[in-house]
Every structure is written in structure tokens, then in C-alpha cells.
């Protein structure tokens, strides 16, 4: 067994296994100092590094080599070193860079939340609420694509995609053959099958669960209801293909959709098969475990957004200034 390494994030020290990323070390601490992540997904190997929302400042490299890292680093793909010191929400530079990333992620996003099925459980929505600014400085037409059905259960609305690559990793790692991928280059890149093809295999539905935005949605749930009007309930069944542990989303007596069980970072505990997801929507198919715990700040439980003031910011005048917009919004609530 190797010795644990010590890392300090925003002044809070934690001991973690060697090889742990800064992001996962922060998740072990929990709370406000956890950087947001739009592309990293702990259960998908190789994911992360792309969206740049989790950038942090390494103010001390390690005990051995205390030099700070010259640039902000993607916390999801940077391993901790013993004695490393990291600044996330205590660094105005990080807050500023993150604000920039959010603005940039939004310039080509349609902002069609009122008609998007992902609204209420969209990570980009959360991210822009917490870190963005209200106005955009982008004055050009946004990138648009036609909606495409990839198979009869999944809809791809590329216009909303932020190119996190998670669905590609799912197809590579969870299913037995991948028929979709990233085509084209630069801001003309798109998720596509190139030639119209259905994505058909037992685990394809997981691309819906990993999608951080409303680019890949469940056609069987399409426009049925707003997520915040549905009640999530944990349930399981004996499934020959997967572990059969899911969340059922009820409206009254009716199961409107089935998803994997997502944790506070939006990651499923286990990937589920398409039979569980699409074909078993009667309560009698399932053993009910009880209501799914949903964070009180989530729109799903509260019907509206509210934000608690970041404790570190509250006590630091420089950070209050650097986070003026968030601060004003939070103190208003």
C-alpha cells in the first residue's frame, strides 16, 4: 500500500490516494470548493480536460518542488502531489477564467431552456447561473443543426451540444460497437453517425444520462413533463443485463421515464440497460426503495433556483469584488 498524499484546496487539507486528481480530491472535501465539471465523468476513462470549467490555480506544486504551475490547470486531469496547494474559489484569476469559459460555452448555445427537456437538470444551466453573467456580448447568429433521431428512443439535438465527448466514451466503453462519433473539426465539429444510422445496442440509452445538456434526450419522455413536476423514486429489479438499480420518475401513478441513479455531481451510480430504461415503465416491474434524495438547492426539489453564498467569498473583500455579480445575486436571496 502506498502512503497517502496531502493536498490543500482553498485552505482545506485532505489526504488522498496517490494518483488522485485535484478534482476528485476536492470532491472528497465536498462543498463549495469542488470545481464544476462539464466533460469529466469519473466512470468514463479518458474523459475530461476539454470544457475547461474546472480550471484551478496550483499555487504550490508539491513539497519537493514548491514552484507554482505557470498556467491554470484542468483539475479533472491533473494529479495531486504531496504538499500541493490549490486555489479554486479563493483565486480571483480562476473565477475570472471560469466566467470566461461559461460565456464561451454559451455563445453558441441556443438558450432554448423553455422548450428543452433537460431544463431543470441541465449542468450548463446550473453552471451559467452560478458562474455566468446575465448578458452576452456575442452578436452573431448561433450555430444550428437539424434535430436527428438516432434510433426510435434517442433524439440528438446537436445545436445544444457542448462537445464534452462523454457519449462517445460511453459508446466506446459501455457498448460493444460505436457507430457515432465526433465529425468535422473546430466549431464545425458535430456528434454524428455520418450516414444515417440508428444506434442500437443494449446500453445505448446511457448516452442520455451522461449528456450534461439537452443534446441527447429520451424520446419516450419527450415533452411529457417538466422534471420538477415529476417525483423521483429509487427502485430496482432483477435484470439479466445490468444491475437494475434505477430512478423512476413519476407523475401521479405513471412512470414517465427511467434513468440511472445520479449522484450530486450528476454521475450515475451504475449504467443501466435499455430494457430497464425504455421497456419497463410499470410500477409492477419494480421493487420500490423510496424517494430519491435530491439536493435542496436543485430545481427538482424546490421549483426555483436559490443559491447559498459561498462561505469563503463572504469573508474576503477581494473575492467579494471579484465575484460581485454572484455576490449581489446571492445576498438578494
Amino acid at each position: 500500500m502506498s502512503d497517502k498524499v496531502k493536498v490543500t484546496i482553498d485552505g482545506i487539507t485532505v489526504e488522498v490516494e496517490p494518483g488522485t486528481s485535484i478534482l476528485n480530491a476536492a470532491r472528497q472535501i465536498g462543498g463549495d470548493i469542488v470545481p464544476p465539471a462539464m466533460c469529466y465523468y469519473s466512470k468514463l476513462e479518458g474523459s475530461g480536460g476539454k470544457c475547461r470549467t474546472c480550471l484551478v490555480k496550483v499555487s504550490k506544486g508539491s513539497e519537493k518542488d514548491p514552484r507554482p504551475m505557470p498556467k491554470l490547470v484542468a483539475s479533472c486531469r491533473t494529479g495531486v502531489m504531496d504538499g500541493m496547494e490549490v486555489q479554486n474559489i479563493t483565486s480571483p484569476e480562476v473565477i475570472e477564467a471560469r466566467k470566461g469559459v461559461v460565456e464561451i460555452l454559451l455563445i453558441n448555445h441556443p438558450l432554448d431552456c423553455p422548450v428543452c427537456d433537460q431544463a431543470g437538470e441541465c449542468h450548463l444551466q446550473d453552471l451559467s447561473y452560478e458562474h455566468g453573467v446575465a448578458d452576452t456580448r456575442y452578436e452573431f447568429d448561433r450555430r444550428t443543426f437539424e434535430k436527428i433521431d438516432i434510433g426510435d428512443k434517442i433524439q440528438l439535438h446537436m445545436t445544444r451540444c457542448i462537445l464534452c465527448y462523454r457519449c462517445v466514451y460511453v459508446a466506446d466503453q459501455i457498448t460493444d460497437n460505436r457507430v457515432h462519433g465526433i465529425l468535422g473539426r473546430g466549431d464545425a465539429s458535430e456528434i454524428s453517425t455520418y450516414i444515417e444510422k440508428a444506434i442500437e445496442n443494449d446500453f445505448s440509452g446511457n448516452v442520455i444520462d451522461v449528456c450534461p445538456v439537452g443534446a441527447l434526450t429520451d424520446k419516450t419522455f419527450r415533452f411529457k413533463n417538466r422534471v420538477w413536476f415529476t417525483k423521483p423514486v429509487d427502485a430496482h429489479r432483477d435484470c439479466p443485463k445490468c444491475k437494475g438499480k434505477v430512478t423512476l420518475w413519476y407523475k401521479g401513478e405513471e412512470v414517465l421515464r427511467v434513468t440511472g441513479r445520479k449522484d450530486q455531481y450528476g454521475e450515475v451510480e451504475d449504467f443501466i440497460c435499455n430494457t430497464c430504461r425504455f421497456d419497463t415503465k410499470n410500477t409492477s416491474d419494480w421493487v420500490i426503495e423510496g424517494p430519491r434524495h435530491i439536493s435542496h438547492t436543485s430545481v427538482i426539489s424546490s421549483n426555483h433556483y436559490e443559491m447559498t453564498l459561498l462561505p469563503v467569498i463572504k469573508e474576503n473583500p477581494i473575492l467579494i469584488e471579484a465575484n460581485k455579480i454572484e455576490f449581489d445575486r446571492a445576498t438578494k436571496v
Binding site: I148, N177, R178, V179, H180, G181, I182, L183, G184, R185, S192, T193, Y194, I195, E196
Partner: protein, 171 residues
């Protein structure tokens, strides 16, 4: 997404296949995917573009998923995803070439061929496009013509006229 209306079965020639096989030997066992770019070049030289059917065949040859070929072919700008003119004039449009008149050359080509960038002439013989820096800035303006990628430097309107005439005589 490309809508394929016509599905043409294609068969690579024995000569082409033997070239593929030689290329694969350049890489370690099991790393045959490395042959993808050289093979795409050979296929484009043979057919003038890279059709979906050709890509499926390449995938089968290299024992990789077809999507892996589509992903790669659409990333690199040299591969044509649609049929082109017999001769494609690719004019450098980046800074240093523009300092010495590349834009004028492109206008001239557009006027002479009578087609817009990316379009094919009615006889199917010519198309043209602006491309990014060809690393020949000291000989600017420049253009290249595949599949041999012959190179034409220090272009003037006159030299372009002559070049197009010569190409017409080759048809």
C-alpha cells in the same frame, strides 16, 4: 449529416490492396490503424474523393469501426467528402500570400472558371478553393493541384491562365 441516396458498391483493385498491405508493415503489430491517413490519400488519388462506401471498405480492411474512419476523414481538410472537379485548384489564402496578391488570384480563378469556391464546372473538369497556409510564403502567391499536389509559385493572372490552358489540354 450526409444523406446517401445512391449506394455504389466499390471494390479496391488488387494493386491498391497490395499498397495498403505494404503500408501496414510500417507499424508495430496491431497498430494498423496508423495506416489510415496514407490509405485515405491513396483512395482519394484513385477515385477523386472519399465516398462513404470507400470508407466502409477501408474500415473493414483495417479492422476498425467505420465511424473511426469517418471521424478521421472529416477532421483533415485534404480529404474530399464529395465529388470534385477532375482538377482541384487549391490557392493559399493565408496572410503572407495575401500580402502579395493571393486574393486577386482567387478572384481571377473564379472569373475564369465561372464557378464559385467549392463548386464544380459544368463539364466536371475543374473546381477550386482557398486553403490555409501551404508553407511556401516566400514564393507567394501559390496554388497546388492534387492528386500529385504539383506546386505552382509566384502566380500572376497570366501564369494562372496558362496553367488552366495546359490542364484543359490534358483532359
Amino acid at each position: 449529416m450526409l444523406s446517401v441516396t445512391e449506394h455504389k458498391e466499390i471494390e479496391f483493385s488488387a494493386n491498391l490492396i497490395s499498397k495498403f498491405e505494404e503500408i501496414v508493415t510500417r507499424y508495430p503489430e496491431g497498430k494498423q490503424k496508423s495506416a489510415l491517413l496514407p490509405i485515405l490519400h491513396l483512395v482519394q488519388a484513385e477515385y477523386g474523393w472519399v465516398s462513404p462506401e470507400a470508407m466502409d471498405k477501408i474500415a473493414a480492411f483495417l479492422q476498425i469501426q467505420a465511424i473511426e474512419v469517418y471521424e478521421v476523414a472529416t477532421f483533415y481538410t485534404m480529404f474530399f467528402m464529395r465529388p470534385q472537379g477532375k482538377f482541384v485548384l487549391e490557392v493559399c489564402r493565408t496572410g503572407p500570400c495575401c500580402l502579395v496578391g493571393a486574393e486577386k488570384i482567387m478572384h481571377h480563378i473564379e472569373k475564369t472558371l465561372g464557378v464559385k469556391e467549392g463548386e464544380v464546372t459544368a463539364d466536371g473538369n475543374f473546381s477550386w478553393r482557398g486553403v490555409e497556409c501551404l508553407a511556401a510564403c516566400g514564393m507567394a502567391p501559390v496554388l497546388q493541384i492534387g492528386p500529385e499536389y504539383t506546386f505552382h509559385e509566384n502566380l500572376t493572372e497570366e501564369s494562372v491562365d496558362k496553367l488552366i490552358e495546359n490542364l484543359k489540354n490534358k483532359i
